[in-house]
């Protein structure tokens, strides 16, 4: 299941990407427009800023804005920041690899075998889609 964090994060990014100008947009506006708890959204936008997707401005007329052009924001990077590893098991993860401690040899592991294919299929989708592709 996709976490609400990711869901809300994607919606917020898309909302910002759909703006004509790059003027800061307030959290309250995004939250209201997308039906999201403002405080929860606040923490999400914070991590998006900390990870280089958004810029921010404080005080009156402040808010968040996209730093890059939507077509330069790959879904792989967004998903990794919001949802975590794209792989369903650590032993097939490119960016978060970990050996399974219970698995004697992963080359003969059926789960590894299947999840490798799943990972590749998902990567293919995320690599071929940018934020620009999500705008209605």
């Amino acid at each position: 299941m996709l976490s609400k964090k990711t869901k809300y994060g994607l919606k917020a990014l898309t909302y910002l990407a759909s703006m004509d100008s790059k003027e800061p947009v307030q959290i309250a506006e995004i939250a209201k427009h997308e039906n999201i708890s403002q405080k929860f959204l606040e923490s999400i936008l914070l991590t998006l800023r900390r990870n280089g997707f958004l810029g921010s401005k404080k005080g009156k007329g402040g808010g968040y804005y996209l730093i890059k052009s939507p077509d330069e924001i790959q879904m792989t990077t967004v998903m990794r920041v919001l949802e975590g590893p794209i792989a369903m098991v650590p032993c097939v993860s490119l960016n978060f690899y970990e050996k399974c401690e219970d698995c004697p040899n992963q080359d003969q592991c059926s789960v590894n075998k299947l999840m490798l294919k799943v990972r590749d299929a998902n990567l293919e989708v995320y690599r071929n889609n940018t934020l620009a592709d999500l705008i209605p």
Copy 2:
């Protein structure tokens, strides 16, 4: 993340599929061979039996065995029983569809748009792999 339930279930199914004969295999043997808590595995095998993947026999010489041939067991059905919906959001699920209550119109929803592609990519993998393909 793949749940341990699914991981263990897949390993158990693969172990049974790798057997030459279709003689019942005891929970204890599977648990030991795959490093799984026996009691936890017990409940997993029970749901696999209830969902038509396994047969069972009680008493001495009893255990679990595959009902169908491994190449007739599609990963789509296994994943749905063990892990639940293949889709990451209910609004793109084929078998567990639900409308998002917070989404005014899902045709213009960016999450829906992306997750539809993800779902299709995953279905493609699960449909093209059977239990037979997981055997080392």
